[in-house]
Amino acid sequence: MIFALDIVILIFLIVAALIALNVKDLLSASMIFGIYGFLICLLWAEMGAVDVAFTEAAVGAGISAVLFIATVYNTRRRSSD
C-alpha cells in the first residue's frame, strides 16, 4: 500500500461523497458518483487489490454512472430532500 497516495485519495473520496450527498441537482449527483467510483478504483488499485479494482473500474465507470443518468432521465431532475 502506497501510504502517500492513499491519504490524498481518501481525502478526495470523502469530499466527493459529501458533495454527492449535498448537491441538489440529481444529474450532477450521479456524475459525482462517477467520480466517486473512479477514486474508489484508484484506492483499491494502490492498496494492491487489482481484481477488485478492475471490477470497480468496469462497473463504476462503465455502467453505474449510465444507469443513474438513465434513472434521472426517467424521473425528476431536482432532488426532493
Binding site: 497516495l5 490524498v8 473500474a57
Partner: protein, 105 residues
C-alpha cells in the same frame, strides 16, 4: 533518488493536479461544469493506474486494467451528453411523476 520515489512523486503530482477538478466539482455552478470535472478525473485516473503499476513494479498487470479504463471512461460523459441532448434546456422530455404513474396501472 531512485525510480520508486520518482514515480511516487509523479503520482502525487498527478493527484495534486486533480485538486482543481475536485474543486470544480464542489463549486461548479452548473451540472456541466461537474461533467468537466468527471472528464478530467477520468483521464487522469488512467494515467495514475499506470503510475501505480510502475510503483508496484508489474506494469504488465496494470496495463490491461488501464486499457479497460481508457475504453470505458467516456461512457459517463456520453450518457450525460445524451441526457442533455434529450432534455433540451429542461423543456423537452420532462416526465411528471403523476402522469407516468397512471400509465402503467
Amino acid at each position: 533518488m531512485d525510480s520508486e520515489t520518482f514515480f511516487i512523486g509523479v503520482g502525487l503530482a498527478i493527484l495534486f493536479l486533480m485538486v482543481p477538478a475536485i474543486w470544480r466539482m464542489t463549486v461548479g455552478p452548473t451540472a456541466l461544469d461537474r461533467i468537466v470535472a468527471v472528464n478530467v478525473v477520468g483521464t487522469k485516473t488512467a494515467v495514475l493506474l499506470v503510475v501505480i503499476g510502475q510503483i508496484f513494479g508489474q506494469v504488465g498487470m496494470f496495463v490491461d486494467f488501464a486499457l479497460a479504463y481508457a475504453l470505458l471512461n467516456f461512457t459517463g460523459s456520453l450518457a450525460a451528453a445524451r441526457y442533455l441532448h434529450k432534455t433540451k434546456a429542461g423543456g423537452g422530455h420532462v416526465i411528471n411523476f403523476e402522469e407516468s404513474g397512471s400509465e402503467n396501472k
